[in-house]
């Protein structure tokens, strides 16, 4: 009896402590991102276009006033965009940049961010500037929510684009270890082409890797 009691006690303690901040996603984001470069070849910012899922879009637009039913103009969505961007600050905009192995800070979005609403889907458009534009040999941008409340996934078509970049090689990769076959397939993709053909699968972090000469 003592043994079974002990097992139950351990089980109980484990399950009681096993209730921290872990949820399944309630919001899905499909991303298009652009990396913006200055004429001198230094990266200046990350431009995001985040499309929310239909449930969250309906939730977020609930009660918002609009002239036309089920349609929202950029102006009508402006207060919501402000709330979105301001509350994203607390989560570092879910975007983390590493330049040549060193984490570099991104600053708050420039004014001029906006939301649009099309086919019952809200899309948030904003640019995160680098604190100081840098010339990066190896640039890594990671986008993820550590608490998995928001599930980020790159769009299938043209998920990432380089804007004004020097001759750089772009890869969009999954966080998990690549299998040998996948690695080989990836290495077979020509350097000047984007990796859009690989399987996307379930992922918690989305990585953009840019290698510049």
């Amino acid at each position: 009896m003592t043994a079974s009691l002990r097992i139950l006690l351990i089980a109980l303690t484990t399950l009681t402590f096993a209730a921290p901040a872990r949820a399944h996603p309630h919001v899905w984001v499909t991303m298009h991102s652009e990396l913006v470069y200055a004429p001198d070849g230094s990266i200046t910012g990350v431009r995001h276009h985040w499309a929310f899922d239909d449930m969250f879009s309906a939730f977020a637009t609930q009660g918002l006033e609009s002239k036309e039913k089920d349609k929202f103009t950029r102006d009508e969505l402006e207060p919501l965009a402000k709330v979105n961007v301001e509350s994203l600050k607390e989560y570092d905009y879910f975007t983390y940049a590493t330049v040549d192995g060193v984490k570099v800070p991104l600053t708050d979005p420039q004014p001029g961010y906006w939301l649009d609403y099309k086919d019952s889907v809200l899309t948030l458009n904003f640019t995160l500037p680098f604190k100081t534009p840098v010339k990066a040999k190896e640039l890594k941008i990671e986008i993820y929510d550590p608490t998995i409340f928001v599930d980020f996934a790159f769009a299938k078509e043209k998920p990432v684009q380089l804007v004004g970049a020097p001759a750089c090689k772009l890869d969009v990769v999954l966080p998990r270890e690549m299998t040998y076959a996948e690695g080989k397939a990836l290495s077979n993709i020509p350097a000047d082409q984007q990796n859009t053909t690989m399987a996307w699968g379930a992922q918690f972090a989305n990585k953009i890797l840019v290698h510049c000469p």
Binding site: T14, A21, M55, Q62, N84, L88, L124
Partner: protein, 344 residues
């Protein structure tokens, strides 16, 4: 027939505890100090626990499609109910403080498993009702925005977490005193006195709650027959736990309700919320039953070994009460987020 059914229930409970242990293991693996986790992606969640996460996310996502489908084809509503039920079961097995608080409460108060099941179902029902009330009043009647609803939830959250702290503190006071008393020499004389005290209140229907708690705490120390004490008092007493846990609506339910409303199908969303609650209640009740089982075993051990066993029992109850306080305090101060609502 009866024993067969019971063994099925036991197996279900074991399955769920297995899931939880796995989830717990994953949680421990992921637990890192704040600040450090930032910037490094969380490790991949694989295996069975990952499967549960994936499943509940999958069911949740399927809801939007079926609600949309129900607009054109009424029979899709049945599919929606099935998905909502499964989502409820999986969702309660995942995060959330409800099951922990209810279980700890039952253990600390030495409640029976039947009462545990009743309390689990009552809190899940209340949770569904609160979600429907918030969306019904705020969105349907007042056409309020998501932000307003988020603010309302936040206020409810604070009340709910504060209640948890209060319940925990009260229990901790009663159980902690019983423990201290047991540790003090010459406790036995007081026991017999307290025993009589308990009977007084039990039959006389005590009006002050504090006394009643104290009475039952002492009463158990001698004769572990809580059912003899207080009659239906447990329900009134349990109500505080039900309210504390059930007050905070599930954010998933709110989003589903608003989405259903946007499709002009609010009532289908409301039905789905209730079915979700049913699923949640089954999981929470299973876990609560398990907790009560552990407490029962400890009780048997206590009767077998009066000295050390009783000490263990009181220690167990006091620890459970302390856990409730800890949960409430962590939730209240925001160190533990049970669920986010307006994240973006």
């Amino acid at each position: 027939m009866m024993s067969g059914r019971r063994s099925i229930i036991a197996q279900c409970a074991l399955l769920i505890i297995g899931m939880l242990l796995l989830l717990g293991a994953v949680d421990v693996a992921l637990a890192q100090p704040f600040g450090i986790t930032r910037g490094s992606p969380p490790p991949e969640i694989g295996g069975f626990a990952g499967w549960i996460f994936a499943k509940q996310a999958e069911f949740y996502r399927m809801m939007s499609g079926t609600i949309r489908a129900a607009k054109a084809d009424g029979s899709a509503a049945y599919t929606l109910m099935g998905i909502s039920f499964l989502y409820g079961i999986f969702h309660a097995a995942g995060p959330g403080h409800g099951k922990a608080v209810i279980s700890s409460y039952l253990v600390a108060n030495n409640e029976t498993w039947r009462r545990g099941v009743v309390l689990s179902f009552a809190s899940a029902l209340l949770q569904a009702l609160v979600a429907i009330a918030i969306v019904g009043i705020a969105a349907v009647l007042l056409n309020a925005t998501a932000k307003t609803m988020g603010n309302a939830v936040r206020v409810i959250e604070i009340v709910s977490y504060a209640l948890i702290v209060l319940i925990g503190l009260r229990l901790f006071w009663v159980k902690g005193r019983a423990l201290v008393h047991l540790l003090r020499p010459g406790a036995h004389d007081h026991h017999s006195h307290a025993h009589g005290h308990a009977h007084d209140h039990g039959h006389g229907h005590a009006h002050h709650h504090g006394d009643e708690e104290e009475a039952s705490a002492w009463g158990h120390a001698h004769a572990p027959e809580p059912r003899e004490l207080g009659g239906r008092h447990w329900l009134r007493r349990g109500l505080s736990a039900v309210v504390a846990v059930g007050l905070r609506p599930c954010s998933g339910a709110i989003i589903v309700l608003v989405f259903a409303l946007a499709q002009g199908l609010f009532w289908i969303g409301a039905a789905s919320t209730f079915v979700m609650g049913l699923g949640t209640a089954i999981t929470v009740a299973s876990i609560a039953t398990l907790a009560v089982g552990a407490r029962g075993l400890a009780g048997k051990l206590a009767t077998a070994k009066p000295g050390a066993g009783m000490l263990l029992l009181r220690g167990f109850e006091t620890a459970a009460a302390a856990l409730i306080v800890a949960f409430g305090a962590l939730l209240l101060t925001g160190y533990m987020v049970s669920e986010r609502l307006m994240a973006i």
